[in-house]
């Protein structure tokens, strides 16, 4: 079983790397009647309940995308999303969007207390929300402009550009960076 899965993954890699940008699609994706994602690989084999994941969701979201089976075994590796035929790329992007939930914080409205745990009220691209921050270590500066906040439930919030925040938000965030 294990070996089968692996060899397919490797073949899938090769195919996708060779054919990703040109000609016929080496695999197909669709949702079945139960809403599960189904992959038909280059050999026509069907894998039900697969998952599309990004390898570098923060540093390089459009490159290095893997389709894994229910056990987490890699079936297909897509080196570059932009090299795929546009309909397939769109389809994969849609799947990724359904799977990923990382609200982007646009404004920080309020931080309840200067000591943790503190409650944050924020405005995100998905609407207003509030969350509890357990420790100041959960605010990570990704690079000079971006920060990732993990709340008490493990939900991640991204600040796409610190410079773009308004003055109040920046002041509230300052002490965590």
């Amino acid at each position: 079983m294990e070996n089968n899965g692996r060899s397919q993954a490797e073949l899938g890699n090769k195919d996708s790397a060779a054919n990703g940008s040109t000609g016929p699609r080496p695999f197909g994706l669709h949702r079945d009647a139960w809403g599960r994602l189904v992959l038909i690989d280059a050999y026509g084999r069907q894998h039900t309940g697969v998952d599309v994941v990004r390898a570098f969701p923060l540093s390089d979201p459009r490159r290095g995308i893997a389709i894994c089976d229910a056990e987490g075994r890699e079936l297909v590796w897509l080196a570059d999303l932009d090299a795929l035929p546009p309909p397939l790329a769109r389809q994969i992007e849609e799947e990724l969007a359904k799977r990923e939930f990382v609200p982007i914080i646009r404004r920080i409205l309020k931080v309840s207390a200067p000591v943790e745990p503190s409650e944050w009220e924020v405005e995100t691209d998905r609407g207003r929300t509030s969350f509890v921050l357990n420790s100041e270590d959960d605010v990570h500066e990704l690079d000079a402009h971006r920060a990732l906040i993990t709340d008490a439930h493990g939900i991640r919030y991204l600040i796409a550009d610190i410079e773009q925040l308004d003055a109040t938000s920046r002041r509230l965030l300052e002490r965590y960076l």
């Binding site: 994941v53 990004r54 390898a55 570098f56 969701p57 923060l58 540093s59 390089d60 490159r63 290095g64 893997a66 894994c68 987490g72 075994r73 890699e74 080196a79 270590d137 990570h140 990704l142 493990g154 991640r156």
Partner: protein, 756 residues
């Protein structure tokens, strides 16, 4: 003949003549050494001389100086059956001469003489051998791997590279000057600004005299209206205040910038130096203390440089300028006012030493306290598992108390000293008042002079006081500086070669030639010889403490050999620049260490500019790719001290990917699979197979099954190589490997079957 003469020169002076007279014609001196203990292990000097015919020995008679004829020589003829051997346990050792009939003589010596004694033994052995085979192989001169100079075969260490005498310990604070040289321009600017600001601040007290004498007094006594003059003076005061403000501002900014810069440079240099020190240094240091030195002590120095030193400089200037002004206005009054000054200086001198000692103690106590924390936090699981929280708290409290007491001792001195200085300065003021009023009474000075004087002298003494208070800051800073320079003065035990040979990309042929290594006085490797061909995989087996890890540390050049040499591609590893050499080595350790950062960064640790494709390829080969994809942020997940929790096997596979990515020629696996379960081990084994391919590999493993791919197995026992061969050969030989293997098989398939 020439070489023999050189040997004579090497003999310590007193012995030289005495020995020369003893030798017969044609007798060749082979080696000598000085035992430094007598039979009762009391210190006593002696000499053992080895020639091609006999062993000569003499001991220093108790009271008479060496060489005055009172020494008694003993001699033993040497023959085929004679053997010399050393027996070392602890710091006192013994050299024995034995033959077929028993022990003929023995000499005791301390660990300081170990190398010389061993050389003597080796010399004899090689001499005997060369006599038997008829060859004279020991005539070759060794070449210093560092500088390329010839080393006399028995000197062991290159004379031209030997560490020079320790630097004279200048005042540590003074040495800070070397760090400030690059900022000299700004420092001079700051100093000029200080000078100007001080001068500007002296204008107001000086102006009080004409204001009182030329404006107030004439109005009070004779109703003369000098308001125009008054406006001038007031304007002058205002201007002086504004100029002083501007100058102060500029001065503070410039000097604060410079001092912050200097202390940042110092911190950077200390840390860089620390990183380059050999592992041996870190073995003997407590992490907390090092952290405290880098953070606390540099911070203190920065504070001192930025705040205190500026104040100090401006205080001295102020004091000198005020004193000059006082003397200029009225010398007599000035002398009276300055009466307590010498007394204060004397007090400062007395207290200084005490403060310095106190601050050094306080710094050490602080370092110890940090160490307790730095010890306990990483070991918190053990602490909790053994329910020793309260003991850890006590341990911390104890060191915290020491910090308190160290500070308290300082405060005792300080609390008395500070007010005493205040008292003395008040006395000074009192003297000025008394003598000033007396002189006004006599009509020698005006009221204006006295007022100006009082304004100046109170400035003088305030400055004086603050300068004296600074004394404590100076001592504190110099204690800090000492602690930092202690690190900066440490030389790495793995020195960079003087004339480096650049390794480039190595082939990976490793040769050990008579490798010996000592930890302190304990020798753990007793002359290993081994050659590993490029691409060969060697499995090191043997009981714990046999010296396997030490051997690996030597190959990686974490330490340098005590004697012998390690050659890679035929070149002594000490000839390579350390960093360039290590770039050829990949290591996978038993306890993989992940730095705080993303998984991708951790994999690319050895090659930060690796592309994402390369990182993924390495992770795939290390069988880490799929579990990484399962993490919420994939390769961008944070790991390390504050990051995602990974299992031991996962961490191990990341560290294998790390080693794969640098594509090393030499691969070291130190118990890479021993801390994981069998299933994970299989995964890691598969990952390792990718890693090992085409590289010279040296692997240590306790589970012998791990080494089934090894081309040769090397059994190390008690610092010796006892067996070398393939698995089945060694099994056939029925030696220690066979026993080890048997024992493990019993453990796995043993009596009850539930052992691992």
């Amino acid at each position: 003949m020439n070489r023999t003469d050189e040997k004579w020169d090497a003999l310590p002076g007193p012995w030289r003549k005495a020995t020369a007279s003893l030798l017969e014609a044609g007798e060749v001196l082979l080696a000598w050494f000085e035992p430094d203990l007598d039979d009762h292990l009391h210190y006593a000097r002696g000499l053992v001389v080895l020639t091609d015919r006999r062993l000569l020995s003499c001991s220093e008679p108790a009271a008479s100086p060496v060489g005055c004829g009172a020494v008694r020589w003993q001699s033993w003829p040497l023959n085929e059956g004679s053997r010399l051997r050393t027996d070392e346990h602890g710091s006192a050792a013994v050299l024995e001469l034995v033959d077929g009939s028993g022990r003929l003589a023995c000499w005791h010596y301390t660990a300081a003489q170990t190398t010389a004694a061993q050389q003597l033994v080796q010399k004899w052995a090689s001499w005997q051998q060369s006599q038997q085979t008829g060859s004279r192989s020991d005539g070759t001169l060794a070449i210093c791997p560092s500088c390329g100079a010839a080393i006399p075969a028995d000197a062991g260490r290159c004379q031209s590279c030997a560490a020079g005498p320790a630097k004279p310990s200048l005042s540590a604070l003074f040495r800070l000057a070397s760090f400030s040289r690059s900022r000299a321009g700004l420092i001079v600017l700051g100093f000029l600004l200080t000078l100007a600001a001080t001068a500007a601040s002296l204008v107001p007290p000086y102006l009080t005299r004409p204001i009182i004498d030329d404006v107030i007094r004439p109005w009070e006594t004779q109703h003369i209206d000098n308001s125009a003059l008054a406006l001038w003076y007031l304007g002058g005061l205002a201007v002086a205040a504004i100029v002083a403000w501007a100058l102060d501002w500029a001065k503070l900014y410039v000097l604060a910038w410079v001092s912050e810069r200097i202390s940042a440079d110092l911190r950077a240099k200390t840390y860089a130096h620390l990183q380059r020190l050999s592992l041996e240094f870190f073995g003997g240091k407590r992490t907390g203390d090092l952290i405290s030195r880098i953070s606390n002590d540099t911070e203190r120095l920065c504070n001192f440089l930025s705040i205190n030193l500026i104040d100090f400089a401006s205080d001295i200037l102020m004091i000198v300028m005020t004193a000059a002004m006082l003397l200029w206005i009225n010398p007599l009054l000035a002398l009276a006012a300055l009466c307590p000054f010498p007394l204060i200086v004397w007090m400062v001198a007395r207290v200084r030493g005490r403060l310095l000692r106190g601050y050094r103690q306080a710094g050490a106590a602080w370092g110890a306290m940090t160490s307790v924390v730095a010890d306990a936090i990483p070991g918190i699981r053990v602490v909790k598992a053994f329910a020793q929280e309260s003991r850890e708290i006590e341990r911390f409290n104890a060191s915290n108390e020491r910090v308190f007491h160290a500070a308290n001792r300082l405060n005792k001195v300080w609390s008395l000293f500070g007010p005493t200085v205040t008292l003395l300065t008040t006395c000074g003021l009192l003297i000025v008042w008394a003598s000033g009023v007396w002189q006004i009474y006599l009509g020698r000075i005006t009221l204006g002079v006295l007022t100006a004087f009082l304004a100046l002298i109170s400035k003088f003494y305030t400055r004086m006081e603050s300068m004296i208070r600074m004394g404590s800051a100076v001592q504190r800073a110099s204690a800090s500086a000492q602690r930092i320079f202690e690190i900066l003065d440490k030389q790495s035990n793995v020195p960079e070669p003087v004339r480096p040979i650049h390794p480039g990309r190595l082939q990976g042929r490793i040769e050990l030639r008579g490798v010996r290594f000592k930890y302190g006085t304990r020798e753990v490797l007793h002359g290993l010889d081994l050659t590993v061909e490029p691409g060969e995989m060697i499995g090191l087996v043997g009981p714990t403490g046999a010296g396997k890890t030490t051997l690996i540390n030597l190959i990686c050049r974490f330490y340098d050999v005590s004697a012998g040499a390690i050659l890679v591609d035929g070149i002594d590893v000490r000839s390579f620049p350390v960093e360039e050499y290590r770039r050829n080595i990949g290591i996978v350790l038993q306890e993989p260490f992940l730095f705080y950062g993303t998984i991708a960064e951790n994999i690319a640790y050895g090659r930060p500019n690796a592309s994402r494709e390369e990182i993924v390829a390495a992770a795939r080969a290390a069988r880490a790719h799929e579990f990484i994809l399962r993490l919420p942020c994939g390769y961008d997940s944070l790991v390390g001290e504050r990051g995602q929790n990974l299992s031991g096997g996962e961490r191990q596979r990341i560290s294998i990917a790390r080693a794969l990515l640098i594509d090393p020629r030499i691969l070291i696996l130190d118990e890479a699979t021993s801390s994981v379960d069998t299933e994970t081990e299989r995964e890691i084994q598969a990952a390792l197979e990718n890693l090992v391919r085409g590289r010279t590999t040296i692997a240590i493993a306790h589970r012998l099954s791990t080494l089934r791919r090894a081309d040769r197995l090397v059994v190390v026992e008690n610092g010796h190589i006892t067996e070398i061969g393939r698995h089945d050969e060694l099994l056939g030989a029925r030696g220690s490997y066979a026993r080890l293997y048997q024992a493990q098989m019993e453990l796995v398939y043993g009596r009850d079957g539930n052992g691992k």
